[in-house]
């Protein structure tokens, strides 16, 4: 068996057919995940046990189980329940796409809330004392002092998580979706050349990861302007 370099690069355009779905999965679940993360974070740092406990349990469950298992549980497991099949969300939950979005979002929510919490804990207590001493309320302290600083501190870990998410979207192919990996699997079935086809798809994932890393790198630089002393 010979390695066909031409096939590797020739397959890239075909792979891009699945790129749209991969990006949709990535953007939607990152967005919903971020919203979930914010809610979870606020619950987690509220200091009230009836908010902290559900947040901790949620994080514990979704960090502690593989995304693949979560997708399977949601996709194959939920329809077992009568009330779900008759519930309002069934039109969504019967679709493998929305099952994946749900699993990926819940996963991102759990991870990102912990990343943000790290950022919040990293904010110098002295700054918050200074703000308190000026009579700035707790809510305003969180919005104007804690948040901007915590976001900057969280950015490196967050970009890491988005890259993980990009790769996790490949799991959608296990529940019949034709994202990039799904397309690749179809192509393998047609060409019987798994080596070339999967390397081809790997190259696209690498390119995506590179772009995400660059993008966040630029954002990080921009948000750290104030830390760089200038001459004079």
């Amino acid at each position: 068996m010979t390695f066909d370099v031409g096939l590797v690069f020739g397959s890239i355009p075909k792979m891009l057919v699945g790129l749209g779905l991969t990006l949709e999965l990535l953007f939607l679940s990152s967005f919903i995940g971020l919203a979930l993360a914010l809610v979870t974070l606020l619950m987690r740092i509220s200091g009230r046990w009836f908010l902290v406990t559900p947040a901790v349990v949620y994080i514990y469950i979704f960090r502690g189980t593989p995304i693949l298992v979560q997708i399977f549980v949601i996709y194959y497991g939920l329809p077992q329940f009568e009330f779900i099949r008759e519930g309002m969300l069934w039109p969504l939950l019967r679709e493998p796409f929305w099952c994946c979005i749900l699993a990926l979002s819940l996963n991102a929510g759990a991870y990102v809330s912990e990343i943000l919490r790290g950022g919040v804990l990293g904010v110098d207590k002295g700054l918050l004392e200074a703000a308190s001493a000026l009579g700035i309320s707790k809510t305003h302290r969180f919005i104007y002092i804690t948040s901007p600083i915590a976001i900057r501190l969280s950015l490196p870990a967050y970009s890491n998580d988005i890259i993980s998410m990009t790769k996790a979207t490949a799991l959608a192919s296990t529940v019949t979706l034709l994202d990039m990996t799904g397309v690749a699997r179809t192509l393998v079935a047609q060409t019987f050349a798994p080596y070339e086809i999967f390397i081809s798809v790997a190259l696209i994932y690498i390119a995506m990861a590179w772009m995400i890393q660059k993008g966040f790198g630029m954002a990080e630089k921009r948000m750290s302007r104030h830390l760089k002393p200038t001459a004079g």
Partner: protein, 248 residues
């Protein structure tokens, strides 16, 4: 002096950190316009005492009355009191992500609801007062320590407080920058600002303090006019402390 002019009253204030008694029956009355310097060995409760005055620390027993309001668990009262009490910290605590001007205007906008242009005017005026009007558009990290601390003083003054608390404002500074900060504080004192300063700058204490308070082990050991305090201290612990810090 009449009760009315007492801007800060501490009555039998006690404060614990776990089992450690940080403040032990502290009594202190500060009149309007009075300048108090607090000194003492580290761990003696100086910082804790002034941090109780704007309730960055909560006292466990006794009473604290600031600008006529007793400090209790009621949150509304606390923010009202904090508006009247400016504080300057050892580590400056400027907001690193905001430019100098925005550091000064943030509380004006959020707390006093001052319109933007007016807030800028006020901020500029106070930056001039601490002699750094040209640094308004820089970030704190671009300033020297002395400049940062002067920005912090200006930030507190913007709220037009009745009292200023200084918590070792020069301890984190390089020696050559101490004077520029002390100069600003002396100017403030001369303008009649009520001040409580935790500091070991004894020259400053001598020249501007109405009263020097010496604390040890959470107690106020001695409170005297500076000339009496430095030349004729009555308490043995004060004598020992002074001999330790004035030998060199």
């Amino acid at each position: 002096m009449s009760e009315q002019e007492s801007i800060i009253i501490l009555e039998n204030v006690c404060k614990y950190f776990g089992d450690f008694k940080a403040l032990s029956d502290v009594n202190l009355t500060v009149q309007k316009g009075e300048r108090i310097v607090v000194c003492g060995p580290s761990g003696s409760g100086k910082s804790t005492m002034i941090r109780c005055i704007n309730r960055l620390e909560e006292h466990d027993s006794g009473r604290i009355i600031v600008a006529g309001k007793e400090l209790t668990r009621e949150v509304k009262d606390i923010d009202a009191v904090r508006r009247e009490v400016g504080m300057v910290f050892q580590s400056f605590n400027l907001f690193p992500h905001l430019k100098v001007l925005d550091n000064l205007t943030l509380a004006l906008k959020l707390v006093r609801k001052t319109p933007k242009s007016e807030a800028r005017q006020i901020a500029t005026r106070y930056l001039e007062r601490v002699h750094i009007p040209d640094q308004a558009d820089k970030y704190p990290s671009q300033l020297s320590g002395g400049q940062q601390q002067r920005v912090a003083i200006a930030r507190a003054l913007c709220m037009n407080p009745e009292v200023m608390l200084f918590d070792e404002p020069t301890s984190a500074l390089d020696p050559e920058m101490i004077n520029e900060v002390l100069d600003v504080m002396v100017e403030l004192a001369k303008e009649g600002m009520t001040m409580i300063c935790v500091t070991h700058e004894m020259g400053f204490a001598r020249s501007i303090a109405d009263s020097v308070v010496f604390m040890d082990k959470g107690e106020i050991v001695e409170a005297e006019r500076p000339d009496v305090f430095f030349n004729n201290p009555s308490n043995e612990r004060t004598k020992l402390f002074l001999s330790q810090i004035l030998t060199h």
